[in-house]
Symmetry: C2
Amino acid sequence: MNTLEEVNDFVHNGHQEYLPHVSIDPVIFGYHQQKLKILLLRWKGLDGWGLPGGFIKRRELLSQAAYRILHEKTSLSDLFLQQFHVFGDSPYRVQERNASEYKEKFGLEVEPNNWLLERTLSIGYFALVDYSKVSVTTDFFTEDYHWFDVSDIPPILFDQNETVEKALLTLRLQIYHQPIGYNLLPEKFTIPEIHTLYETILGKELDQRNFSKKLIALGLIKKLDERRSIGAHRSPYLYQFEKEQYEHALQEGIVHTY
Amino acid sequence: MNTLEEVNDFVHNGHQEYLPHVSIDPVIFGYHQQKLKILLLRWKGLDGWGLPGGFIKRRELLSQAAYRILHEKTSLSDLFLQQFHVFGDSPYRVQERNASEYKEKFGLEVEPNNWLLERTLSIGYFALVDYSKVSVTTDFFTEDYHWFDVSDIPPILFDQNETVEKALLTLRLQIYHQPIGYNLLPEKFTIPEIHTLYETILGKELDQRNFSKKLIALGLIKKLDERRSIGAHRSPYLYQFEKEQYEHALQEGIVHTY
DNA sequence: ATTTTATTCTGTAAAATTTACGCATTGTAA
DNA sequence: TTACAATGCGTAAATTTTACAGAATAAAAT
């Protein structure tokens, strides 16, 4: 959606192709240089950052829509993607928007009852992606992108800071019950790498010795016979995830006790 | 919504008051005679059971809508209510419905592009209620209700058995990380009562001694100086929840380890 | 009044898990 | 060859979970 013609078609006829009143808004987490980042797009005209969202096609399954939107924006197809909450409590978003905004900001003429002006619920997804494999696609409404450190998120358009906060909270809670890392790390990784990843996500220190013991005891990772050369220091062994165990733990959860 | 006039207004003009394309569908759990039950409504014309759902008003916050719908159907206002998933992957529900169905089943004339025929996503909520306090209200579309044992759920209309399954799964998972019982038990209860509740929800036995030790150690319940008379046996002490601790655990979760 | 029956209530030892912690090993650069 | 910085491994202490049995009690039956 880049030519003016396509945009006009989307604005005026989009409701025939897409389901109005509901959007999908993914919080895309990437991991780079020991920092947890999220991807935001720079909106034209609105002078601010927004989530890389999209709409559901009328005949498309919800989960397919989420994967499609992520693929469109990042070109990724192998990723962890999970719905986590529907947002519909923002007083700002309960209001319908007005047409003059579109004229001012984007130079688009919009009829007063246009589908894009109506109230929209937002389905929050979070995705875990390999930062280095993402290539971001922008469109008519967005002109740039940036990976923000989660400790330094700017105000987000459409009252969606809450979405990011809840995504992060969900991720942190979930990591206690599900393995994480398969989609954030390269296929082969070292103990220090996955250790730092967990520390970064949880925002606290974990004893490295106990941490690796636990992952191995759970059968989630296995040691390879290769090592990575990291310059002036002892070469760490490479590990990789035990795919079956990992998938099993994703499904069943790592339940602790009662 | 009981007179034919009201129903016709809802069918033909409902889209002005309500947001199309999204419904709220609550799975209402009650606890009675040591059984976990859910509430289903009997639909007229369709000859089947359905969840007690409803629509969101255009200017209403999502959470308000959920509470309103629950209040309308059960007359309860004090309950535990939580969103748990949006369902939009049912191939059956991706199809638009046709108008003739309304004519056949309910004797209602519906225009072919009526809002009720369009594809609708379903936001799943689950509620925990005090069974004895519920008084069910039916409407034009529903003629009866029944509390079904969770181990004996009938086929549910609109392809929503998955909703009940996921609600139960969520409840069972969540009980490991959050206290449950405040809205399912009377204010004062005995150890055997809450013990049986947990066994019922989890569907497995829990050692009674260790179970009560744990709840007390977590500071979630406190012993009262009263006892309940249960006829021919030793009178059990009454307990009640420690409200602050309980709320705190609800917020923070009972995190186990890493 | 005594016995019987069904249910509540309490404590402790063993096992498992988590936490804490120190030092030897290793790959390069100096 | 040495120094440095980071990896890698093992063990003891503390905590938590699990397993398990018998005394107490309320009322009904004798």
